[in-house]
Each structure stands twice: as C-alpha cells, then as structure tokens.
C-alpha cells in the first residue's frame, strides 16, 4: 500500500516522504493542537515541535501497533497538553475547561479550510451533544474510555458503541 511505502521512506529519512506526510496530516494536527492550546502562536510552536519530534523518532513507529495517523496524533496531543501544563502557559490565564472543538467551528476563529469549515459547521450542529463530547474526548483530547465515561457520566461499556455510532454519523456528514 502507498501509505506504507511512504512511511517506510520517511523512516529512512527521505525528505520528500516527510514533505508528503506533512501535507497529508499538518492541517489535522494543527486543528488538534489549536483545539487544545487555543493560541495561534503557541499552536505554531507546538506544530514545529511535533513534526521535528516525528522526524527524529520515526523509528519508534511500528505499523503493527497502529495507524501512522494515530501515532502522530498521539505525539501532537501529548505535545499540546504538555504545553498547557507549562508555567508560562498557565500564567497566560487561559481557561480551557469549557472549550470544545465545536466552538472553533462555530466561531470565526477558523480561517483555514473555510469552505470545509462552513460545511462541517452545519453538519456538526447535526451531531448530538453526547457525540460531540465523545469525539472531543476520545480523539482530540486523548482521554481513555474510562475517563470519557466518567466525564460524560455514561457506563464505560457503552462508550465503544456510542462512539461507533457517532463516527458513523460524522462519516455520513463529512465524507459525502
């Protein structure tokens, strides 16, 4: 498969493979990071850290452990969360407790992928409240199923199927 070859090249320090992977995932990572740090400059800082780390630690990726997207998503989430725990960041007085990705899509913050965003904004409104939160926690914040179940006050056994249904809805809205 094409992606596998690209990732192998990337692991062999092929700069063009790095370029391609950046084009494939940078917007997504930028969105994930910004959703966590909620600051343009800090997001750009973290972006650089993430892709530099990915380049240096490319050996640590193993296809048997998961998707390449999941691997870099993990790096991005952790880097962004680390950033929010730094002293400098805490002193900036940001209150992230009430922030959800939906806010970004519904506010005028978003300047990139404007057309998509407008379309997606419409669809996200169609997603149920619980779905928005499940996606937020599981994908964008990296919460475990347990944490998510506690946060949403729903049984842990239902998270998996709930999420399945939410993603199903999202796929219908986003991919068609």
């Amino acid at each position: 498969m094409e992606l596998d070859q690209l990732v192998t090249d990337f692991q062999n320090k092929d700069q063009r493979a790095f370029d391609k992977l950046y084009h494939m995932y940078s917007d997504s990572m930028h969105g994930i990071i910004y959703n966590i740090v909620r600051d343009h400059e800090i997001a750009e800082e973290v972006m650089q850290d993430v892709f530099i780390k990915a380049w240096h630690k490319s050996d640590s990726y193993n296809a048997s452990k998961g998707r390449f997207f999941t691997w870099i998503l993990n790096i991005a989430r952790n880097a962004a969360i680390d950033k929010t725990r730094s002293k400098a960041y805490k002193n900036s007085g940001k209150n992230l407790n009430a922030e959800f990705f939906v806010d970004i899509l519904e506010s005028s913050d978003n300047l990139n992928n404007r057309m998509d965003a407008i379309g997606i904004k419409k669809y996200v409104k169609a997603l149920g409240e619980k779905c928005k939160k499940i996606i937020e926690y599981l994908y964008f914040k990296g919460y475990t199923q347990k944490e998510t179940s506690e946060e949403l006050d729903i049984p842990i056994g239902t998270i998996k199927t709930r999420n399945r249904n939410c993603i199903k809805d999202l796929r219908v809205l986003v991919l068609e």
Partner: protein
C-alpha cells in the same frame, strides 16, 4: 469470525483514536490485512477524523514546513533543492563574474585609451607651440627683410661694390652707404668664414693720400645668417676695404690680407 459484527463493535474507531492495548492493535492489524472491508472501514474512520480536525486548523501552516525543514537542516542531501537552486546559483554567479570581468576590462581599456589620447593631445600642443614659434620667427624675419629692402631702396643710398683683390678674386662684398644718417650696411655674403684666431676688419679709405680708417671688426661674422652688418661711418670715405686681421683687429690694414676693395663712385 463475523466481519460485520467485528466492524460494528466499534473497535476500529477506538483503534484509530489510539485507545487500544498493544495486543488489540495487533489483532486489528491482522484483520485489516486479511479483510479488505476492515481496512476500508479503518480508512474511512481515519479520513472522517482527519477531515473534522483539519477544519479546526486555525490558519494555513505551509510556512511552518519551511521553518521545520530549516530546523531539521534539510537541503544538504535534498536532491530537489540542489537541482533547482544550484544551477540558478551557478548561472547567476558566472554571469555576475563575467559581467564584472567585462566591466573591469572595459574600464582598463577606457583608462588606457584616455591616457593615450591625453599624451596625443599634449604632443599636438607641443607641435602647435613649435609651429606658432616658427610662424612668429618667419614674421620677424620677414619684417627684418622688408626693413632691409626698404633701406636698400632708399634714394639716398650709395651702393659700393667691393671686388676681390690679389689671391682672393672669388671674394666680393657690397656696401650700402647712407650719407644722411652716416650708416653703412655691409653685405659680406661673398666672404668666407674667418679662420680661427682671425677676424674681418672693415676700412674706410681716402685716396690722396691713401689713408685707412678702421670702421671696426666684424666679431660675429661666422655666426651671422644673412651676413649683413650695420656700421656707423662719419668719414668722407672714397673707398672701402676689408682685410683679414688677427683677432682684436689692427691699427693699420695688412695689405697682403686685403680681400675686397671698392671705390665710391662720385655722383
């Protein structure tokens, strides 16, 4: 295993979210390889999440790619960068150097040319100066000669030809005597240069009795160009003679050295 039930369980969504254990991940990986519909399902889940998160990206991030590459010091072995940038660099460099060389050579050539022209101009200036002097000289000469001609044409002038005497028959001279202002003009072109230690001496003579009176020596004879000399003569001369005497002149003429003699014809 029921593939459909497997897909519907929601495990693939958690797989993409990174929420599975290492063993669970391995299982999913195997299922994906074995069952294309599982792989397809995973791709669609991933794609939906990527699309949603991309919509959350606050701004274009392509400028960050260059920053990241700079930090990773890309470019050294990047073939694409070399193949595009280096020839352009070389082309510019070579053109730049070539232009600099041409300009430099042109400058040197101009400087040299300028120097040559300056030296030509100064040479021509010198020539002009020389020619001007020549013209000035010619004008002066002409004025002198016109003056001389006017003198000789004067009606009061008495012309006395002096013929060669004894051994010196080839010698001759002429005296133009203006009695009004007591001056004579001696044209001594027919005399040879005075030898070393000798000098031409001019005599005024009265004949009965023969009495010579010195009119002086011509000390500058050899150096004079037109051999015309102005001499003052207040005597009632009846004849003129020219002798070659020892330098400094003599009291009385040495008759053996009388080169020319001429009698004044009475009007």
């Amino acid at each position: 295993m029921d593939i459909k039930a497997y897909i519907e369980s929601g495990i693939l969504e958690l797989f993409v979210a990174g929420q599975l254990t290492e063993n669970e991940n391995k299982d999913v990986q195997e299922m994906m390889l074995k069952h294309p519909e599982v792989l397809q399902e995973v791709l669609e889940i991933e794609s939906a999440v990527i699309k949603l998160s991309s919509a959350m990206s606050p701004s274009d991030n392509m400028h960050l790619l260059q920053l990241i590459k700079d930090k990773l010091q890309f470019g050294g072995q990047d073939v694409k960068v070399i193949s595009i940038d280096k020839p352009r660099y070389n082309w510019l460099t070579y053109t730049g150097w070539a232009a600099a060389l041409i300009v430099g050579a042109g400058l040197l050539w101009s400087l040299n040319q300028n120097k040559q022209l300056e030296s030509q101009v100064s040479e021509i200036d010198m020539q002009n100066l020389y020619l001007e002097q020549q013209i000035e000289q010619a004008k002066t000469d002409l004025a002198v000669k016109e003056n001389l001609l006017n003198i000789l044409r004067d009606r009061d002038i008495i012309s006395v030809p002096l013929g060669g005497q004894g051994d010196f028959t080839d010698s001759y001279a002429k005296v133009y005597w203006n009695k009004e202002d007591n001056s004579i003009y001696l044209d001594a072109q027919g005399l040879p240069d005075a030898p070393e230690g000798k000098v031409w001496q001019v005599w005024s003579l009265t004949l009965n009795p023969l009495t010579p009176t010195s009119l002086g020596t011509i000390d500058n004879f050899n150096d004079d160009d037109n051999k015309i000399f102005t001499i003052t003569n207040a005597n009632e001369s009846q004849a003129f003679g020219i002798t070659l005497e020892p330098a400094g002149g003599s009291e009385t003429p040495t008759i053996e050295q009388l080169h020319t003699l001429g009698v004044v014809s009475q009007p």
